[in-house]
């Protein structure tokens, strides 16, 4: 699918939000929800950066690092894939302080969600790297490039193209996962909605705005990733 239909959807979502925001049944909720959305976005962006860094490190370590580091990477991936993000959040926020380590809620949110998504991302990185044909390695060796140079300059740039679509999915999972952070005292979009809902009982307007808000953010992610994919494909001299 091209970017145009997505852009139209994004435009319609924005227009709907704009129009509802002017409506008197909806207007009172806007400031609180916008504040909540800002928290959601900050956690998503910071979590995404951490997730990519963790995924590259763990994915490449699993493939190329010496045994102890490889096991460490495997442990990380299995630990964070095998337990839920909610449990990780709770553990970092409520259990860790019992061992004398206290981390603020925002950092906990970014750590837990970022590392959780990064664990899935590590498998994406590994799969994409393994999909680059072996003869690319051999061509690099025949030119006397070092292993490190081959990974960084030959293999990864080719693997990136295959990584982008699954990363789009992961970022959206991350966005949706941020709704859990209300459970560790952060006032994200979902938290604000629930709070206002309890005091005003205006479920219809509030959750319509929240729905459109999440849709707006996830469409932005999807379009961004599509554009990146296009660029990456052009970088291979193929037509997107």
């Amino acid at each position: 699918m091209g970017v145009t239909p997505l852009a139209i959807m994004l435009g319609l979502t924005a227009a709907a939000l704009w129009w509802l925001a002017g409506h008197e049944d909806y207007r009172p909720f806007m400031p609180g929800l916008v504040e909540g959305a800002a928290v959601t976005m900050r956690i998503t962006v910071a979590g995404a950066i951490l997730a990519v860094a963790a995924a590259l490190t763990a994915g490449l370590a699993r493939l190329y690092a010496p045994a102890p580091l490889r096991w460490l990477a495997v442990t990380y991936v299995e630990l964070f894939r095998g337990t839920s993000a909610l449990v990780q959040l709770f553990w970092l926020f409520f259990v860790l302080p019992q061992f004398g380590v206290t981390i603020d809620a925002f950092t906990v949110a970014v750590l837990a969600l970022g590392l959780n998504v990064g664990a899935y991302g590590a498998e994406v990185v590994r799969g994409a790297v393994l999909a680059v044909p072996l003869h690319q390695w051999e061509a690099g060796l025949a030119l006397n490039l070092s292993r490190r140079q081959i990974v960084a300059r030959i293999i990864l740039p080719q693997a990136v193209v295959a990584m982008i679509p699954p990363w789009g999915n992961l970022f959206i999972e991350l966005l949706k996962g941020t709704s859990l952070v209300s459970l560790i005292t952060l006032a994200d979009l979902t938290f604000r909605a629930q709070q206002m809902n309890q005091t005003t009982m205006q479920t219809g307007p509030i959750f319509t705005l929240v729905l459109l808000g999440y849709l707006f953010m996830s469409l932005t992610i999807t379009i961004g990733m599509r554009l990146m994919e296009r660029r990456a494909i052009r970088g291979l001299g193929r037509r997107a």
Partner: protein, 259 residues
């Protein structure tokens, strides 16, 4: 004293599992010599080149390049298995062109030719571009330097691959059936480049090929490989006019019949 051969295989054996692929092979290639290696599919031609390029280790025996061992190193009189630094130093003497081109698809023709000279030889970008431009000109592709591999024909890609290997200034060039994956009409342009290379440059060349015509007029010497051994070797003229071995004759007959 006689000069060391450029390349020496000494009793080299290579196995895949229990299957012996190269079997106690001995071969000397002189400096600047052009050797054609022919033989049936599975006779070990590719395995031979891959060991010399240090892509595969030998199981036993030794390979020397300019008299220096590739397959082991000597430290304080002791023989040790080669470490990465040793292998990379030896690899620097050899270049290889593959049947399937193996260009880097994310880099242009120019990008393919400057990557290793910059990263491995430490050339500046400007110096690497100058060297690559010269080589792309030599293979007739100066005008395509900004094209990506996917935008080039098979013959053009293979010529870029030749320029890319030459940009590392190897002393020995290995060609493994470099025209086998090409459309018939583009085979000629690649062979012309290889021929010119042989005439105009001081290069030792080992060429695996199924083109008997090319082997005859290009090579100084032809080696016929059978089941991992050199079954017959002779100066190109003698080899084709008067093959001594019954197996060689059968092979040449079969190739001629196949056209």
């Amino acid at each position: 004293m006689m000069q060391d051969p450029m390349v020496r295989f000494q009793n080299v054996t290579k196995r895949h599992g229990s299957h012996i692929v190269v079997d106690g092979l001995n071969l000397d290639v002189a400096r600047n010599e052009k050797v054609a290696i022919i033989g049936a599919s599975g006779s070990g031609k590719t395995s031979l080149l891959r060991m010399l390029m240090a892509l595969d280790p030998v199981d036993s025996g030794e390979i020397f390049i300019e008299g220096e061992p590739l397959t082991h190193m000597e430290r304080q009189g002791k023989r040790l298995p080669p470490d990465m630094a040793h292998i990379r130093r030896m690899r620097g003497k050899v270049g290889m062109v593959f049947q399937s081109f193996n260009l880097f698809p994310h880099l242009t023709a120019m990008g393919n030719c400057i990557e290793a000279p910059m990263r491995v030889l430490g050339l500046t970008r400007a110096a690497a571009i100058e060297r690559a431009t010269e080589l792309l000109e030599m293979v007739g592709l100066a005008s395509r330097k900004d094209y990506y591999p996917s935008q080039l024909s098979g013959g053009q890609q293979q010529r870029v691959a030749i320029a890319r290997a030459l940009a590392m200034r190897p002393k020995v060039m290995l060609f493994d059936e470099v025209t086998s994956a090409l459309d018939p009409e583009t085979v000629g342009e690649v062979l012309t480049v290889i021929r010119r290379l042989g005439e105009e440059h001081d290069l030792t060349m080992m060429v695996v090929t199924h083109q008997m015509g090319f082997a005859r007029e290009f090579a100084d010497r032809v080696c016929f490989l059978h089941q991992g051994r050199i079954c017959e070797e002779a100066p190109a003229r003698d080899f084709f006019h008067n093959p001594q071995n019954e197996r060689t004759r059968a092979f040449l007959r079969a190739v001629l019949e196949a056209g």
